[in-house]
Amino acid sequence: MRQIHTDRIIDAVKQAAMAANYELGQDLWAALARGEREEESPAGREIFRQLLENARIAREERIPLCQDCGLAVIFAEVGQDVHIVGGDFAAALQEGVRRGYGEGYLRKSLCHPLTRKNTGDNTPAVIHTEIVPGDGLTLMVVPKGGGSENMSKLFMLKPAEGWAGIRERVVATVAEAGPNPCPPIIVGVGLGGNFERAAYLAKKSLLRELGAPNPDPELAALEAELWDAVNSLGIGPMGLGGRFTALGVHVLMQPCHIASLPVAVNIQCHASRHREVVL
């Protein structure tokens, strides 16, 4: 059985948290560059120009792209033939977040829900662990900003509402969010599952490479229809008016109960930060 020491896990999470906050992914660079070329609104083009310059400064000077360095979400895929040694796995993930946010000069944005007292080290991270075949360990570290998360919604629709109902809720969620979640946004849609699974699917859909087509042709067509619908709203970059309200719409789907039609809409700002490490 392959052994992985928690020290490696701590260091991997620390480095990923820092890199995710300083370096925009290549897919996002390409999407912002396309926006700068194609956006019709002059104010919108100026926003794209600023965002590209911002990404260059953050990468070169190793400072965060955005002061909201997010709540750290970690998707862990643990091979069933891996033996983790040296300590508690979840504690190692939390320690990695603690060190990354501390040593990386990242903002600590977590607090007690009622007293609002800051936890001081950006923990606890939200961890989703899945056991998968093989002897690998994959960690996806996702700093998720509060402004876009606040505009996200979950709907338990009647099955009779069908696709029209789903489409209406997705568009209404983006319309209501307007300028608040820092458009151009990425819209993650989770269809099916149950109450919590729909939200999980919506979040997970955001991790797919931006601009890459959905491997399922049925979902790819639904994504294209939703993308056109939200970009017809006219909200535009930063809500100043324009064509690019969203850089993309991603959908993940799984079967649901015969009585249910859960739909989750997770809104992601243009600073879509995530970093994968394979150990």
């Binding site: 609104s41 600023q50 911002n54 002061q67 944005s109 300028p179 017809s232 006219g234 930063m238 008016g241």
Partner: protein
Amino acid sequence: MTDAVKLLPPLTDADVLRLTAGDAVLVSGVLYTARDAAHKRLMDLLAAGQPLPVDLQGQILYYVGPSPAPPGRVIGAAGPTTASRMDAYTPTLLGLGLKAMIGKGKRSAEVLAALQSHRAVYLGATGGAGALISRCIREARVVAFPDLGPEAVHRLVVEDFPAIVINDCHGGDLYEEGRRRYARPA
């Protein structure tokens, strides 16, 4: 974009009256930062009849909670946060002479009405451009509520801080106008 209007706080009624939704502005001088936790403290001081730690007459509030300054830098990333969380407190502060706020996202009907009655403006900065905006910030120091950490009130000295007028004091609303201009039937 059209030539930017230079804004040098403290602002007067005349400075505000000439601004129209959609105008690009460049702010140079002092900004005070505050997020919702700091606003709550300001309200508590007012309720207790205590003086505020800063005189807001003619000033600009910037809604930001910067990331920590790495060694050798004045401040970390410092872009705007969502303004609507401050809406409940804003009319009171406008009544104390506050002239402008910089943030991102929609304001409430009450705030929009108060902008007109108090002759004040709401400016939008580019959300998520925290690294870029940090370059305009020349000085930063905490002037109130240090226990709030990133949410403490900071006094910033900025140079050519770029923003755009979202809501002017004449009822203009760039979010509404921009969306109307580019909306099309789905």
